[in-house]
């Protein structure tokens, strides 16, 4: 359980069939692991494959080969080869993800969007809403927005809903794709504190942070993604 996330020999490319089968290599031979209580930050220039790595780990992208091992309820699950319902079970209980953008569902109020991951794990709706309210208050989301669907919120407000939703559970592995990108300084600070609390609680975090200040504040170490560049491997 000390190393809840291990990525081993992962290769990924896209084949664009609509462009005459053009093959775009993304990453090659990705190897790393994240220990409990550690926040590993993916570094390197844009387009090097940082977000793609997070999407592979969460199961949104398939991999060409390799393993993505997640410790899930005393078992080791390979996300790269798991069937959909196993991936969903791992997401529900173990593997969290805060994406850059919130995918909003029409008509569902912000409070319920945040409470949903708890409800999915069997928490009563009432308790889940109470905890959602705590997190949203902590992130300074104005209370009169809680009952509104986030579709019409500003970028920063949506992002805070997204962060609240990702941080509300006690998932043991958390993937963060630029969670502070559209936040002001005060709220960035709140998120930094929340990330530190997760580290203290033994959560393994893997994230992308372009904001240097935030990166400095949370990173246990920086993992340079350019070492996995397929162009380099080919050379």
């Amino acid at each position: 359980m000390a190393t809840p996330l291990v990525v081993s020999e992962v290769f990924k490319s896209f084949t664009m069939h609509l462009r005459d089968g053009l093959r775009l290599p993304v990453v090659a031979d990705v190897n790393f692991s994240v220990a409990s209580g550690e926040c590993v930050v993916l570094g390197g220039p844009s387009g090097i494959g940082k977000s793609s790595i997070l999407k592979m780990l969460y199961g949104n992208y398939a991999v060409d080969s390799g393993q993505i091992l997640v410790a899930h309820h005393e078992r080791i699950i390979d996300i790269a080869s798991a069937v959909p319902r196993t991936v969903l079970e791992v997401r529900r209980d173990t593997l969290g993800y805060v994406s850059q953008f919130l995918r909003t569902v029409p008509r569902v109020p912000a409070l319920d969007v945040v409470a949903e991951p708890l409800v999915a794990r069997g928490t009563s709706a009432e308790e889940a809403r109470a905890r959602a309210a705590d997190v949203l208050a902590r992130l300074n989301l104005p209370k009169d927005l809680w009952q509104l669907p986030p579709a019409t919120f500003s970028g920063g407000e949506q992002q805070r809903v997204n962060i609240a939703r990702g941080f509300i559970t006690d998932h043991s592995v958390l993937l963060l794709d630029e969670p502070t990108a559209s936040l002001d300084a005060a709220n960035r600070k709140v998120v930094v504190e929340m990330i530190r609390a997760k580290k203290d609680a033994g959560v393994a975090l893997l994230g992308i942070f372009h904001d240097e200040e935030v990166r400095e504040a949370v990173a246990s170490r920086i993992l340079d993604v350019s070492q996995f560049s397929p162009r380099k491997a080919a050379a």
Binding site: M16, H17, K55, G59, N60, Y61, A62, R85
Partner: protein, 258 residues
Amino acid sequence: MTDLPLLKVRDVSKFYGSRIGCTNVSFDLWPGEVLAIVGESGSGKTTLLNCLSTRLMPSTGSVEYHMRDQSYRELYHMSEAERRFLMRTDWGFVHQNPADGLRMTVSAGANVGERLMAVGDRHYGRIRATASDWLERVEISTDRIDDQPRAFSGGMRQRLQIARNLVTGPRLVFMDEPTGGLDVSVQARLLDLVRGLVNDLGLSAIVVTHDLAVARLLSHRMMVMKDGLVIEQGLTDRVLDDPREPYTQLLVSSILQV
């Protein structure tokens, strides 16, 4: 999560003469899972749905259902009466056109109550109370309980059809383009409603749609069909974010951005 599939589908094919409806479809559907079948018109998705839901006899293959008594029964080895009973009680079927799934000339309350009577409920007051409760859940004002669906809008009819199907607490619901033909604001409301009900009731569902946004919102898993074949399947997020097959890439790249 129980560890037995609700539906086991093996090598189901349907031929119309020499033409292919669908071929060699195999999959397991698990309790609580929502599967979307996508593809353009004529790809065989409705044929497949009908083969799975006993509405159309497949040419080959088997479909086994996990009954409430824990046994597996091959659907096409059941008697017609058993199949009908299953359809009326443990299953739901939501048609694209509500008129196909409703009785248009009896009241909304009776449309919902009829399914209850099919499972043996005879107490008028209780049936009416349950019907009224379900109308509320699908956001139809209860003062419309005595109106016929003929007098309802398309969106209301569709919601009534959903209430009629869910009132008996089915474990498996088939939906054929449930939002087809509705305008977008009505669609959003219906999707949200269906999503909530599926989550609350822990239903399994198989949803045929050509709308990838509907599939994204409702389904856990997705199958893409073309010319009667399942060409790609997997986690809905994966199929939509990283489509592998040429045809799936074409479908995904054809979505209009708003």
